[in-house]
């Protein structure tokens, strides 16, 4: 079942700025979906439209299968939302604020009291319960926002930059909290510009750039793609011999490598599985008699893969636009006056974006 479904979602502000560009986002029930993109990519705008806070210029949005509008309070009752750097009434204490949120969310008074005590403890704000929100740091406000998003035990949780303004310990704590919240049929969507923050908790990921989703797929697939073929080794001993013999690895297909001190980063461009490449590199290490200090099969590369896809998308922008215009002409020719050529248009990006890994329809 799809919890979130957008179709060609477009938002243009005052005919001047395109925030969302035909965004097709689908999130299945029970997944933890990471929406990753640089600042200004359209993540927050997407969320505000999902919540009915803003109206799309074009396209449609369905939450739990129902169209979302500004008046869809019943749908929002099933959603918890944490905005980026949330704003709260400054003169309230966290308890007063959560009581207010409980009241407007339709939670009973007793249930609110039970929930708020539990949540304030979970987000580590119990000691700050007597302070007013006006004196809170960014991190404390974010944690209070998480508690407010959870007060009515929502089925869908939308978190916009949940680790924003948090120190390393707060970030870790928040990630752990998200991990605990996942499951039990709850769907979570997390927006961030730091993929590493959510890499461990997300089951699915979408990469958004300039208001357009350029990749979507399972996190495991993204991870696999990111790690595919790149091996970093840190060695000591006869490194010159190792360097001289790296070329012998090209029997597996072409490769690229670079050296940075004692670290060699080898990228295989073939299609063999990663374990084969690892085996050959370890054999080379053994053969040249160098000592292996560290081997990395791309665990840190996922961030780079994300950036690569952004770069690919930027360079393809003109090509995509030109190809889309061409398909419009073809569709117009084929479809005739009844306009039945829409499917042809929808499928066309499959060809244009063939180099973008993941869902080929994007």
């Amino acid at each position: 079942m799809r919890v979130v479904e957008t179709s060609e979602l477009t938002k243009i502000y005052q005919n001047r700025y395109i925030a969302l560009n035909a965004l097709d986002l689908n999130v299945e029930k029970g997944t933890v979906f990471g929406l990753v993109g640089p600042n200004g990519a359209g993540k927050s705008t997407t969320f505000r439209i999902l919540l009915g806070l803003q109206r799309p210029t074009a396209g449609s949005v369905k939450i739990f299968g129902e169209p979302m509008t500004a008046e869809s309070a019943d749908i929002r009752r099933r959603i918890g939302y944490l905005p980026t750097n949330p704003h709260f009434p400054r003169n309230l204490t966290p308890i007063e604020y959560l009581q207010f949120v409980g009241a407007i969310s339709g939670v009973g008074k007793k249930q609110t009291q039970i929930q708020l005590s539990r949540l304030l403890q979970a987000v580590d704000l119990t000691s700050a319960a007597s302070q007013t929100v006006g004196g809170f740091s960014d991190g404390m406000r974010t944690r209070l926002g998480i508690a407010a998003a959870l007060i009515h035990d929502p089925e869908l949780l939308i978190l916009d930059e949940p680790t924003s303004g948090l120190d390393p310990s707060g970030r870790k704590q928040t990630i752990e909290l998200i991990r605990e919240l996942s499951g039990r049929d709850r769907t979570i969507i997390i927006a961030t510009h730091i993929l590493g923050d959510i890499e461990r908790v997300c089951t699915d990921v979408g990469i958004i750039s300039s208001g357009h989703l350029i990749y979507t797929g399972p996190m495991a697939e993204m991870r696999r793609l990111a790690r595919q073929g790149t091996i970093s080794v840190e060695i000591e001993g006869n490194t010159a011999s190792f360097e001289q013999q790296i070329h012998t690895l090209d029997e597996l297909g072409s490769l690229q490598w670079e050296r940075n001190g004692a670290e060699f980063r080898i990228t295989f461009l073939g299609t063999e599985p990663l374990p084969i490449y690892i085996e050959r590199v370890l054999q080379l290490i053994d053969r040249t008699g160098v000592e292996l200090l560290h081997i990395n099969t791309g665990a840190d590369e996922i961030e780079e893969a994300f950036l690569t896809r952004l770069e690919e998308d930027r360079t393809r922008g003109f090509l995509r636009a030109a190809a889309w215009a061409a398909t419009q002409d073809i569709a117009g020719t084929r479809s005739g006056p009844n306009g039945s050529g829409k499917n042809i248009v929808a499928q066309e990006p499959e060809v244009i974006d063939a180099g973008v890994l993941g869902d080929p329809t994007l």
Binding site: R48, L53, Q54, A70, A73, R77, Y81, H87, G106
Partner: protein, 238 residues
């Protein structure tokens, strides 16, 4: 309905605890007590005392305060509204009607709190030349003027993002409307004309038709501003 009541309670509580409202009520009450004692000691006419207090103290001072309260109702707290309230299970209509109800409620509440005892004391201790029905109608006419000001202010608050700019726009609008109405031959519709007529109204000398049309016009204008504000807010991007 639960969300409407929760927001109404919350907004009223915020207003009652604000320094602006506290200072406003204190100054109105203090000046009212002073005028009662003066009118009692100096043998002033009740109708003149009531009219002077309304025209020279209550209305000018309240226009400034109410303009700020009304214009800051929505855009003054836009980020809090979106983050804390409208992202929850609250409809736009519930939110804006609760806001309108609380702002008009505080306006009429303070008005009743200050004017009712003041009118009673003036009628009792000053030289009585007023009629009870005239005082009630006169006070009612001023309350519709103030309600219209607040409704227009809230509408402006939805349309304009800059609160500091919206306050002078609202006050200038009220002041300029008098000149414009005079120019088009509708002087009786201006706030200034209504206030100038107050001594006669308090004495019960104003024709009923004049009173009815003023009440009708300002209630209609208030409703138009409220409906227009709700319509605008439901379409607004937050």
């Amino acid at each position: 309905m639960q969300a409407f009541l929760a927001i109404l309670r919350f907004d009223l509580s915020q207003l009652i605890h604000s320094w602006l409202v506290r200072i406003w009520v204190t100054l109105l009450a203090a000046s009212a007590i002073f005028l009662v004692s003066v009118s009692a000691n100096e043998g002033e006419l009740a109708s003149e005392t009531l009219a002077i207090y309304t025209a020279a103290i209550y209305v000018p001072f309240s226009v400034a305060v109410l303009a700020v309260l009304a214009v800051s109702a929505v855009n003054g707290e836009a980020s809090v509204t979106a983050d804390s309230i409208l992202s929850k299970s609250v409809t736009r209509t519930e939110y804006i009607t609760a806001k309108i109800a609380s702002r008009i409620g505080i306006t009429l509440g303070v008005y009743l709190l200050v004017m009712a005892p003041f009118a009673y004391l003036v009628m009792r201790y000053a030289i009585s030349d007023t009629s009870v029905s005239g005082v009630i109608i006169g006070l009612l006419m001023v309350s519709t003027l103030l309600s219209f000001l607040v409704a227009a202010g809230i509408m402006l608050s939805i349309l304009m993002r800059n609160v500091l700019f919206a306050v002078p726009v609202l006050i200038a609008g009220v002041l300029l409307s008098g000149a414009v109405l005079q120019f088009v031959g509708l002087t009786w519709m201006s706030a200034t004309a209504v206030i100038n007529e107050l001594p006669e109204t308090f004495r019960g000398e104003t024709p009923v038709w004049d009173e009815v049309r003023v009440l009708f016009v300002f209630i209609s204008l208030s409703l138009a501003a409220i409906i227009s504000g709700i319509w605008q807010f439901r379409r607004k991007d937050l």
